[in-house]
Amino acid sequence: MSSSNKKFVYGIFNDDDVVLDAIASLRAKGLKVKDVISPFPVHGMDEALGLRRTRLSICCFLYGMTGCSLALLMMWYMNIWDWPMDIGGKPSFALYKNLPAFIPVTFESTVLCAAHGMVITFFLRSKVLPGVEPHIIHPRQADDHFVMTVQAKDDAQVGQIHSMLKAAGAISTKE
């Protein structure tokens, strides 16, 4: 068994509302509820666990901006700077003159970069990638069971955590 402060206790629940109440009561009792694995997103879970708001949307915005400016740069370079041509007598002297024709591509590539940037960030940040070995505590954790991870201060506390979890409504507990 590893060093004491790495000691985790898992409570297995089978109802999301019970889990939410449990989190509240256990945290009130000063227990450190690390995480809850659930088969579906439980509303209010992040508040209950006191998780910070994710900044994915901000990344998304930044990626979008990048895509937007890249597109404009590309079109300006290709059609106006590198080789301006007389195409149907339309002006290809300045970006602003050609802008109306450039809007669709600008928009599309904004979306392209925003979406893919965000998804990739999500995968990397959450270490959700092909080949990652899943950490399975209970075989039905993606089906209908909820796994609450509680960190024990020291081995002494482990025992009482088990009972507290049971008390809070866990159908079973394990280490």
Binding site: V36, P41, L56, E108, V111, L112, F122, H135
Partner: protein
């Protein structure tokens, strides 16, 4: 925990528990396919093979094997392209726009609708490549320089806008779809009994365990993706419509096209969803998840968009008359009374008249009627594109160039084959992928499932009793 009024019909029937849902959704993956599936799969594979034959023949011999000519440069090829792209739109619409509008009933249909989107867009793309005189040069339409590095693409051309729109649309829908699949793959993985299944679904699920933080990010991502997919899906068909709107062919050169095409796309998309799901729910016994209520809801959208399309048709005629432009006026008179009148009137019947039947609740809630009408709409929307493309082109400005267009067996073959190109992957999807987004569906078991309603009834008897269908 969110609650909802009992007046709302349950979205999940048959008193499902979370575990039941998992079982039901995984059953097709874990069990054996029934004979209906095999029948459908064989038929669509045959079509796919036919597609391969016809396309190879065209590529090998030249576009001359089609019926197009000096005046009618586009016909079935682009008709099919627009038709398929249009169909694709429903998927994104359901999963993105309905998510923004918090329409819970999307949950049991969005997965397969998105799958439909992906495969439809693949079909559409195949027609973009296929209609080129030199398809092996197709990559020139991406912004890569020529051998000397300085000859780029023409960003004034709507076709380039298309290239960007379609590829963005395809790849974004793909990640949207896949990221949603990951938790469900995890569920399949965790209950996998065979080694192979364990192995494959471990890879597919990217090692997902639904920890609180991941779910938080996951939901954020879905929301934002929905947020940006909504303008995307609207833009894509607008851009497609600009292929016509920005040209000067009478009958194409129409500013009403973008909204009109988008409405049409949603219209045809939902019709195709109906066609598919009515079969799927039967073949995979999903009647308790894809309920009459779902069908009714979609029928309402068909009714609305169908009416929008109808109004657009009339507006076109009004504007043609109001503009006083000789060529414009003739283009529309020719549509309705010219040599292709039959195409125009089949379009009108299928797209404007039939959907109006959905004002009747009985029809909206009849599976059979829905199926028939959805087929009508699919046909009608195909004719809409045919009418716009062919009847506008075959009689444009100089009467000396007016000709008729007749398709050849190859064009017809490629179209029929493309149905195979669509259905083969879709059939495989129903066998190997969770056809219902169970992790999302589970979130509403407590609020919108039949037994949840019963429970609430028991606690607080409400004025109305929920009708239990079937």
């Amino acid at each position: 925990m969110n609650t909802e009024s009992n007046l709302r019909l349950p979205l999940i029937l048959g008193d499902k528990t979370l575990h039941d849902i998992t079982d039901d959704v995984c059953r097709p993956i874990e069990g054996k396919a029934n004979k209906w599936w095999w029948l459908a799969f064989t038929v669509s594979s045959a079509a796919l093979i036919w597609w391969v034959i016809c396309v190879s023949y065209t590529f090998g011999t030249g576009l001359g094997v089609w019926g197009e000519n000096k005046t009618v440069g586009w016909a079935w090829d682009i008709t099919n392209f627009v038709w398929w792209v249009g169909i694709g739109h429903a998927g994104t619409l359901i999963s993105a726009i309905l998510l923004l509008f918090r329409q819970k009933w999307r949950l049991s249909i969005n997965r397969s609708a998105e799958a439909m989107t992906i495969f439809a867009v693949i079909c559409a793309a195949s027609f973009i490549i296929g209609h080129m005189g030199r398809p092996w040069m197709a990559y020139w339409s991406f912004p890569v320089g020529n051998q000397f590095g300085s000859l780029w693409v023409n960003f004034n051309s709507p076709l380039i806008w298309d290239v960007f729109a379609i590829s963005t649309y395809f790849s974004v829908s793909l990640v949207f779809w896949y990221s949603g699949l990951i938790p469900d793959f995890a569920a399949v993985r965790d209950r996998a009994t065979t080694k192979a299944r364990k192995f494959w679904y471990t890879i597919l699920s990217f090692g997902w365990v639904g920890s609180a933080k991941n779910w938080q990010r996951f939901e954020e991502m879905s929301l934002v993706l929905a947020g940006i997919s909504t303008p995307l899906v609207l833009s894509v068909h607008s851009v497609v419509s600009m292929d016509f709107a920005t040209s000067l062919v009478p009958g194409w050169h129409t500013t009403i096209f973008p909204p009109y095409f988008v409405a049409g796309a949603i219209f045809s998309g939902f019709a195709m969803v109906q066609t598919l799901l009515i079969i799927t729910r039967k073949v995979l016994n999903m009647e308790e998840y894809i309920t009459i209520y779902h069908i009714d809801m979609m029928n309402r959208i068909i009714l609305i968009t169908g009416s929008i399309v109808g109004v657009a048709y009339l507006t076109e005629f009004f504007i043609a008359w109001y503009s006083g432009v000789e060529y414009e006026q003739y283009a529309f008179i020719n549509r309705a009374t010219g040599p292709y009148w039959w195409a125009y009137w089949s379009m009108m019947t299928c797209n404007v008249i039939t959907p109006q039947l959905f004002w009747s609740k009985r029809l909206r809630e009849s599976v059979f009627a829905t199926f028939i009408i959805s087929i009508f709409v699919n046909v009608g929307m195909w004719f809409e594109r045919f009418v716009i493309i062919v009847t506008s082109l075959h009689r444009d400005y100089l009467t000396s160039s007016w000709v008729m267009y007749y398709p050849t067996w190859v064009e017809v073959g490629i179209f029929i084959g493309s149905l195979g190109l669509f259905f083969v992957p879709f059939m495989l999807f129903t066998r190997f992928f969770p056809v219902i987004a169970m992790s999302e569906l589970k979130t509403i078991v407590k609020s919108s499932s039949s037994q949840a309603k019963k429970k609430k009834m028991a606690q607080s008897p409400s004025p109305s009793t929920p009708i239990n269908h079937e």
